[in-house]
Symmetry: C2
Subunit: 363 residues, 2 copies
Amino acid sequence: MNPLDINKLPTFRQAGRGYLRAPCPMPSTPASMPRTTNRVAALFGVRYPIVQAGMIWCAGWRLASAVSNAGGLGVIGSGSMYPEVLREHIRKCKAATDRPFAVNVPMLYPNIEEHMAILIEEGVRIVFTSAGNPATWTGRLKERGITVVHVVSSVKFARKAEEAGVDAVVAEGFEAGGHNGREETTTLVLIPLVRDAVELPLIAAGGIGDGRAILAAMALGAEGVQVGSRFVCAEESSAHPAFKKAVTETTEGSTVLTLKELAPVRLIKNGFYAQVQEAYQRGASVDELKSVLGRARAKRGMFEGDLEEGELEIGQVSAGIRDIKPAAAILERLLSEYQEAAERVRVDGRYHIGDRAATSGLG
Amino acid sequence: MNPLDINKLPTFRQAGRGYLRAPCPMPSTPASMPRTTNRVAALFGVRYPIVQAGMIWCAGWRLASAVSNAGGLGVIGSGSMYPEVLREHIRKCKAATDRPFAVNVPMLYPNIEEHMAILIEEGVRIVFTSAGNPATWTGRLKERGITVVHVVSSVKFARKAEEAGVDAVVAEGFEAGGHNGREETTTLVLIPLVRDAVELPLIAAGGIGDGRAILAAMALGAEGVQVGSRFVCAEESSAHPAFKKAVTETTEGSTVLTLKELAPVRLIKNGFYAQVQEAYQRGASVDELKSVLGRARAKRGMFEGDLEEGELEIGQVSAGIRDIKPAAAILERLLSEYQEAAERVRVDGRYHIGDRAATSGLG
């Protein structure tokens, strides 16, 4: 009855603080760079506005606490957990870090009432809701002082989330792994549209696999990012080692958004996907698609490592992921890449649009 | 025999230099911002590394010369032109601007040999090739001193283009309008992958509708951008006014990538698309799809303004396009938005990742 066997995972001292204490370069900041007043970091009380996505079968207490200990926001993915398993993960996470962490609750899953009751009982301070109506739970959570973030894939739902009183939104583009929006709007297009539509702190998701993409998200108007695929390949992720390895071997076009008639999901094209394709080709009904999907396909693939018969959810950025690292090292690299990209765009004229003042004589 | 009636278009003095000479704000550049050494601008000999896409039925001599006169690179889209019409557009464009301009040649179209012969005869200096093997034409064009740019949607073809000896690549993501790649890789994911794979000057395309997206593209490692949809709604675009209006009325999810069995194309979901969907639902063969597509659908929609029966190719960024402006005003706005975004990311701590040096005491 315990789908995530947390006992077989390394302890806190091995996995969490150990990495945090590892020596890591701390480059000095250019004097011209102002101190952060980042709203996402302030809202969560974390050092960096980098959120680890609450991915099913990958994001247990071990990953969440490692990310939080490293200065990001770790998120437990409750979508693959029975209620009492979720309780255990929350307790282990609290024991493993004294920093803020969150729980993601996909509202399309069946145990939602029980999950929410447990979150409240266990004193979780930050909840990410997704795949459902933000009006349903936001009020009840906020009454208890819980910070609520809703995941959207369109301006329409970003506005609904704002009306429902959430504290921030995650806007997730077509390139993201796992469940996804029907409009297929990409992150590059979605973020400016959402930025112009809502006042809330805005977190970009989908396609954020390195520090260049973090800077791009900030350029588009996001104030933080949510990173999923990159953390699937964290050592502390509870993904099966075979799945992690498969992720590092993907290339462009390895993933596809499919099952749009049920709930659109991005996954690796494998044997299971071939069965889905076959069903489409014979004109299968929604019920037939459901029977192909069957039960526990995601667990089978991502947690048990059945790369052919299982469902392997991952984002397009997996094409750029080539290694499995501790979460703290991944976060450090994201920060270094971000600072390099910011410096490059700031000082390297190669990445500059022409200076209108200096060249106006050309007119 | 003249699908683009160039005689009904405004003259150069009305459309081109007139806009260029209009007063426009020239904000001073912060002292910290270096002079551009941008390779894309240098390659083309233009002031700004902003390329107007050579869109069929929209990008004739009038649009191309207006963009070039304003400091970008105007591109004539030859895909919708008979050979002699192309010759006329090149000549009119040369008469309308003394600045560099280019011609785009989709290599899947039938008149390719004649088109290339005309380009060479007319002394075109820059050619963009797309939808075909870059090895076929690059050598022959470069022998004549012509600058060759190839449009790709994957790392694989970016490498092939580099091997073929092109001078630069345009990497175009899933969100782009018109013909598109099979891998469905979005611009946010594609640009860093291509940047890491080739040394060539890199131009980002797909989802670039405002200056924030230009800065995002630079953050990802692009050195220039190609803008399509935004210039469809230029006054000088030869798109039918009804099509331009339809573009300004799109919202998220208005476009879709379809006809993947033929050549994937992004278009507005209209009556024509409903016919395509109906064909899919009855399990139509590729030949049946071809007959639904029929002939001249794109001309009917984009040039003749039949919004129901015509094919209306546009990118996802159309959801953020709300007005029809002169090309020079569009370019000015892109530059202003880019500078605002660059300044915001540079000085506004709200868009900063936490400063590791300043906060390292938190560890």
